[in-house]
Symmetry: C2
Subunit: 211 residues, 2 copies
């Protein structure tokens, strides 16, 4: 099988999200039945990606498209989630939150995890007051326990929402603990050893990229 | 002047962040003085971008680099922020938060805005209970006032942190109100009229892109 290029992968992840939304939503309000298929033109309208790009991306998934009927939503959704390892009914990837300030606290009970292939299993903060005061559906620890908990609990991914000045030190600690990837919610540009992917979702960077 | 390609722009924004961090931090702990210059090799080490990419990106900024001394941090930082419109001492871009659930609420007092070229000036939620209970350093309104407040207050950018099922309807409302860009904090893939840029910072997408 051809390897899937990074931009294609990124679009397919978005497309899987879109398809799971389309399954629950009629095309327009006069329709009562849910659509079973989706054309590349409809995807183009919803995403802004070109028709050619969409067809090329989907070609990596080995699904058939009826010339006039479009793709079967269920089938395409299943193909993408299976190929990219996004199934929500399989084993969930174990994640932790590092930094329990206001944003980290809000993420402790974030409902978005429910329909995903990820689950939160631990939270960390350098301040013992935070870990004692806050409640979560999973245990909270001070960062001194981070390395041992990550190893013992097989935690693979971390969401970093610590203060900016602590961010790089914590990211290095995470990499030493064997984490496979970091979502960086802080504004800090963190440096980690090569081989550990970091995705930056800083709100300020996102705004700056809109200018 | 040559137009700046999107990936270069994105890296330069991260570089400006890095430079503002470098200004406050000695290169190693034995040094007491703050570094005044930075070499492209040091930037390479901190970011993982290739030396050639870094030099090419910076070439858009028309700043000089002493062969052995590297770039002057202050000068390079100022050049980038000026060219890309990121100055924090100029007029700040006015932003609003749409959706005041747990995440939206946490963003109301997010300290990251202080050192940025953006400011929050309004918040919106469809539920009047939320807008009445919550406190913020700026007014909170129900979404029925969204269009008029955005126009009257010259709000240019919106951060969308509403529930997934309300996301597209609110994004369309925002575009009708004349918003210039949207940061999408939800997991929903939102459809807006062409010409309105959307940056997705969904935590679940970020995690999926790490797999």
């Amino acid at each position: 099988m051809k390897p899937i290029p990074e931009p294609t992968r990124k679009r397919l992840i978005r497309l899987a999200q879109l398809l799971s939304q389309q399954k629950f939503k009629p095309l327009d309000e006069t329709q009562n039945e849910l659509p079973k298929t989706i054309t590349s033109l409809r995807i183009q309208k919803l995403t802004g990606w070109s028709n050619a790009t969409i067809r090329k991306d989907i070609s990596y998934m080995n699904v058939k498209c009826g010339a006039s009927n479009g793709y079967k939503i269920e089938e395409l959704h299943r193909a993408i989630t299976t190929k990219l390892g996004l199934q929500i009914d399989g084993d969930k990837k174990r994640c932790c939150i590092v930094g329990l300030g206001k944003i980290g606290q809000a993420l402790l009970e974030y409902a978005g995890f429910e329909n995903s292939n990820f689950e939160l299993v631990a939270g960390f903060d350098s301040n013992v007051n935070r870990t004692e005061i806050l409640t979560a559906p999973f245990p909270l620890y001070t960062t001194s326990y981070m390395k041992s908990v990550i190893k013992e609990q097989n935690i693979e991914y971390a969401i970093l929402s610590a203060p900016e000045k602590e961010a790089t030190a914590l990211a290095i600690k995470l990499s030493e603990a064997g984490i496979k990837g970091i979502v960086n919610y802080t504004n800090a540009l963190i440096s980690v050893p090569p081989g550990i992917p970091v995705k930056n979702v800083s709100i300020i960077s996102a705004l700056q990229n809109l200018l």
